[in-house]
Amino acid sequence: MAKILICDDEKDIVSALTIYLQAEGYETVPAYNGREALQILRGQEVQLVLLDVMMPELDGISALSKIRQESNVPVILLTAKSEDTDKVLGLNVGADDYVTKPFNPVELIARVRSQLRRYLQLGGGAAQGDTMKLGGIEIDDKKKTVTRDGEPVSLTPREYDILKFLMQHPGEVFSPSELYRRVWNEEPYGAESTVAVHIRHLREKLEITPAQPRWIKAVWGQGYKMEN
């Protein structure tokens, strides 16, 4: 089973996380500041790191940049700041994902699982001819199946079409009527809000926290896009 390093200066949080992760069957190693985390990483094989940003001695961002010099182990940042600049900074330094405090245990475990799957199982798997992959989302066009971090997700045919279209054009913004025209192949005539409904369903099925989507993003007043 995978070994996870939990690093936070708050002991109660570390033990709570330990309980959750051990309940899921993971092995855990505690650390209470960045320096300890670095020492443990040098001595042991660890598959994932949960790293608090604000810590004494060596803060999370500095620790992360040191970790990245030696290994590409997945790192999820735990941050109390919800400001976008902190998230961007963390992701730029090399974090794979982030969770803002106070976090929902279910969300955290989902993110841990997602990162571990990608790191352990899908790391080497090359995309086949008829498969498309973006982040943890993978489409097999032959079998018409969608998986998120290896777990199958069931989509309606319309949802599948929209997802496929967006994944074919990553980063591009499509207005609801444009999407309608391209996917339905007919004029919307006031049916644009159906697109929004489908997108919401897609988000609910594919995103860990639909309220803060990581992949299927809405550009308000303009349309929708697939983050690349």
């Binding site: 709570a16 106070p102 809000s193 929004a196 489908h198 007043g221 349309g223």
Partner: protein, 671 residues
Amino acid sequence: MNKLKGSLAAKIVAIILLAASCLVLCGAVAGISWLDGMGAYRGGKDEVRETLLDNSLENRLYPLMNDLRVLPVYSVYTRSDVRFELLDENWQVLAGNLAEDEEILREMSYPINSFYQGMYFQSEFEPLVTGESLNRASEEEYYEAYGPMDEPSPLPTPSPRPVNADEMKKPEGTQVYFIRLCWTDRCEQRAWGTELQMLEMLHPWRYELIGAAVASFLLAVLLFVFLMAAAGHHDASGEVKAGFVEKIPADLLWLIGIGGICALIAVTGSFFSDNYLVASLVTTALCLLGAGLLALLCLMSTAVRLKLGTFLDSCLIWRFLRWCWKWIKAAFRAIGKLLRGLPLVWKWIPLFIVLMIVDMLLTASFRRDGDMLVFVKLVQWTLLGAAILYLARAFQRLRRGAKAIAQGEEKVVVDEKYLIGDLKDHAEDLNHIRDGLSRAVDERMKSERLRTELITNVSHDIKTPLTSIINYVDLLSREETENEKTKEYVEVLQRQSARLKKLTDDLVEASKASTGNLPVAAEKLELGVLLDQTAGEYGERLAGKNLDLRVSKPEEPVYVQADPRHLWRILDNLMNNILKYAQPGTRVYLNLEREGGKAALSFRNISAQPLNIRPEELTERFVRGDSARSTEGSGLGLAIAASLAKLQNIDLDLSVDGDLFKVILRFDEQE
């Protein structure tokens, strides 16, 4: 050099040398001009000699003519040192004292003008013929012209050469047309000899004379410069000190100096006499020397004053003018102070009276001259108009400044330039108000920023324990328990900790939005798309609450400029509000309309609870309808929405009409 300048002896020597060189210069210049007049610089010595003889002949002409006018010709024969002949139009000799055997050295003939011809000669020649009567008649005239004769001698002897009556040709009424003047061998050498001697003496030195003039001029200039430079130096220290003379005011000194010089020159002119040539010359020289010394004294004293920089101050006139200026200034200042102290109304009354008097005086004095009166009135009204225009402009400036301050602009300065008196005071007061206001605004901004920082930091600190609480409550809820009450309590804990989490997040956001501490990245958006997206996001949830969502929008796209994420946050908050507080079973309207250049997005719903609160209180932080207090949420939703709208210049209009709750967002429409 300083030693030389400080030495009194050197100065005295310099003064003496200066006087001497001036003398030499004068002599040399006189000599040069005399020689030049003789043509000594143009021709040979013989030509000069001839010129000299010609000049001396010419010099004799007018005295001779005068003598001939008043004296009998006979007496003129002997008086004259020059030989002459009077000739008629045929060059026939009428009279003269030239003997035939005389050798003529130089002669010149002149035509005689009509004045001499008609008036005198004709009558004068008459007695010449009769001999005796001539003597008697001429004697009286002689007295008239010359006074009593020096010696009671008999009649002057005839000409140097006896002229007998036969030789004399009778004029017979013929007119004298020409006069011929000659120097002969029998003429006395004295007549031209001195000049000739002078010529003989000076001619060989004529070029040296020029050299002497130049040299003496240069020497004089040099000495003058030295004296000016040395003025005021009394010892070798190189220090300029005021002497005794400098105690006299400069203008007084110059007055005395110029007066003295004029007096001395006048004395020179009046004392000069040919009879006492040597005495005259000595007096003249002394007088000129005195004048020169006086001038030098004045100049040197001026030089000292200029060096010390006390020239103006040592002038009596300057001191007087300065004294006058001081008093004038003081007087004006006193009047100004008096006027400034007066209340505004009292200031204008004398002004009005003065204007009235001036107008009446002008009208009265130009009453008779219509054109002039029109002109004067024109000037008067132009000046008055300018004054009124100035007042109007000043008032306008003050008005604008006050208006800007009233509108809360902080950077406006009322320009005090060109404003005077009370207007200036007023402008200053306005600027002070502005300063105070902007200081207050700055302080408020600072305290707002501090509060935001405090809230943000405290929230971060709260989040850490909150994380533990949420996690352990969650863990607690997973524990198997039969106790229903425990389950119920844990549920409360879960709900309230979730609420606390939302509250902290909203608190940070509300404080940031209200102080404008959020970056705004405006983009071009289509409100129709946004409306569709909103409907898509909330349609099912509203339906789940038994709310009927009705959306309407124009056919054409409506573009606006806004930050998409902030705008979504506003819509999100408003929709969540509707979800929470709308009466189930009613309709919710989302309308997009154009209102003349503005795009209006309205949200309307029926409140489940009576809204016993003013609309503006709803957007105030933590304020909610009383009955809603106990439900979920932080109560900051509308406050955040209002702040974010203000941040993006979107007009958020919130109104309550009975149970109808209405929010309208107004955007500036883009092309």
